[in-house]
Amino acid sequence: MYDALALATLVATGALAVFGLVLVALNRPPGRELKIAVGAVVALLAVQAAIGAVRAFGVSLPEQSTFLIYLAVSVCVLPIATQFAYAEPTRWGGAVVAVGAVATLVAVVRLQGLWVPSG
């Protein structure tokens, strides 16, 4: 884990949540812009997960398996939430993406807490 990358993902997921909620407030179904934003955020998360997974095998963490599960969760939640959001194009789609973004944000915060390498 790198602090700068984690910070970037936290800002990105936070901004994505705000984006989704703004669409709800404007009463607009989620469109192409939100999908592109989700793609960018997931790409960032995937980079973080790849680096995190490689580094996790090189060190000893107190809760290694939990760390790896959180890494997987941090990447998978947003694509699934987005799929679900776009299956019914109403204003609430933005809120579904926002829920996924917040859950991902929490997962990244937990990842930071679990990254206590030794050896």
Binding site: S65, W92, V96
Partner: protein, 132 residues
């Protein structure tokens, strides 16, 4: 008499999404706890697993449109509310019974009290979309 509305449409989709995330996190947490350190606090870990199953059933019930989906959702959400109230109260009175946290400990404090609010929203939504 109007038909019951599907629970997974409109704002209900947001509810299904939140339930889905809790189903995932509670189940994964219980799996890690039970696989890794079951002896430490078997009661708490079994309770975590039970909570995970309840969230899964609630998610299926709320997302589904089959005739059994609504009763399933009602049952799971009522169980969930009871669970968070009972476990929350027990942990406030005597934390010693649950040496390791569960989703419902201290009324879901570790999860921003979402586990306490979620069943209330669920009940409201099931009531609003009922047949009448």
């Amino acid at each position: 008499m109007a038909e019951a509305r599907a629970t997974a449409t409109g704002v209900g989709r947001v509810l299904v999404a939140v339930y889905g995330i809790f189903a995932l996190s509670a189940t994964a947490r219980a799996a890690v706890q039970i696989a890794g350190k079951f002896g430490n606090a078997p009661l708490a870990y079994l309770l975590s697993a039970l909570a995970g199953v309840v969230y899964i059933l609630a998610t299926i019930g709320l997302a589904g449109t089959r005739p059994w989906a609504r009763p399933l959702a009602w049952g799971a959400v009522v169980f969930e509310l009871t669970g968070v109230l009972v476990v929350g109260t027990l942990t406030v009175l005597d934390a010693g019974d649950f040496p390791d946290d569960t989703v419902w400990s201290f009324y879901g404090r570790g999860y921003g009290f979402v586990p306490l609010v979620l069943p209330l929203v669920g009940l409201w939504w099931l009531h609003r979309t009922r047949a009448r």
